[in-house]
Symmetry: C2
Subunit: 206 residues, 2 copies
């Protein structure tokens, strides 16, 4: 079936939200940890992390409109640091609960039962239970007028991973880690490696 | 193990590329279709598509540095339209081949064997074999100085999907479609729905 703008506008609000959020397919799933200036540890669940570049290493993600308080954004701008933490099935219920809207003075770590973990290098809290922990410093953000959202960029300062999942080629073995992905706001998927394909080259025309 | 900037710098070039590309985990996988002003149909493989908002519906993605010709970027800016098309296992070899670096005058459709498909609404080519086809108009882009990359935003103008996978709630059934994801540049994953969890609410403190 073909749907266009007139169809989009007729969709009931929650139907439309689910439709467009799940439409492009499953995407990466991360807990973002930050710390407020009063010491409150904050945790949020995000599905918009993208790789920007490897040299130097940067990641970016989308912040929803700042028309309501966004603790993650305020903390990472104030402190200058945030952490990205992957999700696997054992911590899915806690990770999902981190998407609830808690008050500023409440720590999502406490509320969800996930454990804050600190290195001596990154002042923002990691999630101890996550297999991959990435510590980033805030670099830049861009206001997207399209939906009144913000694209935030961070530089990778620190990576904490089990040594056993780092392959000789540099690849991280996400199959061994059972790293999860998500479609929309609520539908979580397991991943299973299908193939690693050799670098694709243009074939000369016959 | 803990890795920091000094470790990142010591990594061999390809090792570092694989490491940082796969680090955050599997992410969405899409073929982007565009059409050049001389009529050449272009196809590229991307792993950086993010949901920006549902009302009105916008998606964004990262373009790698424009220091070499990027046909997708030039075409979508010139014509003002592009398409996003999902990947499932049946078309994985062709989709991967679309990541090869073809000359401007060569069509990746022809080179990969994927079939261009046009609606009467979107002037950019869809991939007929893809289960979900999304037609977008170019809206805005942002230069990310971090890695000399570009974040491109498009507005969803048209959606072509099998009616059977649209659930009553608005969710798209990606489990039925076998929509794939990718870690880094070469490691493809199947997805399997684990759970759809109810909207998370903050629990009142005991």
């Amino acid at each position: 079936m073909i749907l266009r703008e007139a169809d989009f506008q007729q969709m009931e609000r929650f139907f439309r939200r689910n439709f467009f959020n799940t439409l492009p397919g499953p995407r990466g799933l991360h807990l973002i940890g930050t710390k407020g200036h009063r010491g409150i540890e904050n945790l949020g669940l995000f599905s918009s992390v993208v790789h920007i570049g490897a040299t130097p290493p940067h990641l970016g993600f989308i912040m929803r409109p700042l028309t309501v308080p966004r603790h993650t954004y305020h903390h990472l701008k104030a402190q200058g640091y945030f952490t990205l933490n992957t999700v696997h099935p054992d911590i899915l219920p806690q990770a999902h609960q981190a998407s609830a809207n808690y008050a500023l003075e409440e720590s999502e770590f406490e509320a969800t039962g996930l454990t804050p973990f600190y290195s001596d290098h990154c002042p923002a809290p990691y999630v101890e239970e996550s297999s991959i922990k990435i510590g980033l410093s805030y670099v830049e953000d861009h206001y997207l007028k399209s939906n009144d959202t913000m694209f935030v960029v961070g530089k990778i300062e620190e990576v904490i991973i089990p040594e056993t999942v780092m392959q000789d080629t540099g690849h991280i073995d996400h199959n061994a880690l059972h790293t999860m992905v998500v479609a929309g706001l609520d539908t979580y998927f397991d991943t299973e490696e299908n193939a690693r394909l050799p670098y694709a080259r243009a074939k000369p025309k016959a």
